[in-house]
Amino acid sequence: MTGSSSKFQRKKIVIGIFVFALLSLTVFVFHNSKPVLFFQGFIQSAFSVPKNVLYSLGKNERDSKIYSLTQKNLKLEQKMADYALLKSENEALKSQFSISTDTSQNLISAKIIGFQGSSKNPTNLIINAGLKDKVKIGMAVIFERYLIGKIDTVSQDYSVVMTTLNPQFRVLAKLPETNANGIILGRNDFMFLDGVVITDTLKKDGIIVTKGEVDDKGIGVLPDLIIGKISSIFKNETAPFQNAEVIPIIDYSKLTNVFLISQM
């Protein structure tokens, strides 16, 4: 009797395992269905406040000297990038080949509530804005004039931002001072400026900005957003291209608020 009841228990557990596995597979396959999205949204909104509070802990440096110096440094870097851009625009106007691009954009504010990857250099950031806030895949995410990344995944209440350090991140970039063009590729702890023609000039500590890539729906990365600073240059005179290591100016692990550029 005891033997048959334990056999029955074991059978029950085995059936249970297979049922739950099948249920998990079904949900996985239909992860974009309405009931699943509703449940996902419910969980996300329930945990939004505690995640927000927990993530913000230890990131508030408002009273410290380091915070004020960091802020001053950021402002100075922005001014340097502005100067380089104004200089190149001035030269373009002088040569009468200027193009005026007056784009108006809307910004969506969001708080960072989680991250993925290394804690010092996160490759993904989770923000509390999603489908309900009209967030779309491919939208640029910025902080002041700095490009933080692009929206990679969107769910009901949350979205995942692929930072510029993510190995899957790519954006067209340029060095305004010399008009050198290239592609920024994420490399976990730094960025790689690749595909710069050997005849172009790269300068150490030069500020790299975006070239701009907006699709026909008005979603994408605006031009002249600051990406980072050149830390080292790799140049071989016999090769057709040169590249450089670019480090971000912003510490992504310390960010708590960002903005998304919605349709333009």
Binding site: I13, G16, I17, L25, V36, K51, I113, Q116, S118, Y158
Partner: protein
């Protein structure tokens, strides 16, 4: 400790794990906890808990919904098949299955693989030391 107290403590532990994992620490606490519960405490209420836990983590990490639960129950099925056809219930084998599943999960879902490997390295070292001491008769567990 009473069962109800144990369940309450487990609930608090799981809640804290979920919040920490999806906010501050990039370590798969929930998968590890869920796998351990599903593998070592094979009861239907536990399966339901682990099933729901998987969905909560997937929602908060914005990964494919159902991925975590699928990983947990897929591992349990493989372990069950191993026990049925190749061997008996063995703590070390079960731990090995959990370790492999956690590493695969961490690799594909952008967790800190280094932290996971370090954790399992320490865990296996402790197991071997305990096993060695047990064989020497220094400890009785």
């Amino acid at each position: 400790m009473k069962n109800s107290q144990l369940i309450f403590l487990l609930f608090i532990f799981i809640l804290v794990s979920v919040l920490l994992e999806t906010t501050l620490l990039n370590f798969p606490f929930v998968l590890l906890t869920g796998l351990s519960i599903a593998v070592f405490v094979r009861k239907i209420p536990m399966f339901i808990t682990v099933f729901i836990l998987g969905f909560i983590v997937d929602s908060l990490r914005v990964s494919y919904f159902g991925m975590t639960s699928l990983m947990i129950f897929g591992t349990v099925i493989l372990l069950f098949l191993y026990e049925k056809y190749l061997g008996n219930k063995d703590f070390l084998v079960s731990s090995f299955f959990i370790a492999i599943a956690t590493c695969i999960y961490s690799y594909f879902l952008n967790y800190s693989l280094f932290a996971v490997l370090l954790f399992f390295g320490l865990f296996i070292s402790v197991l071997f030391i305990l096993d060695f001491l047990k064989k020497k008769g220094k400890i009785f567990i």
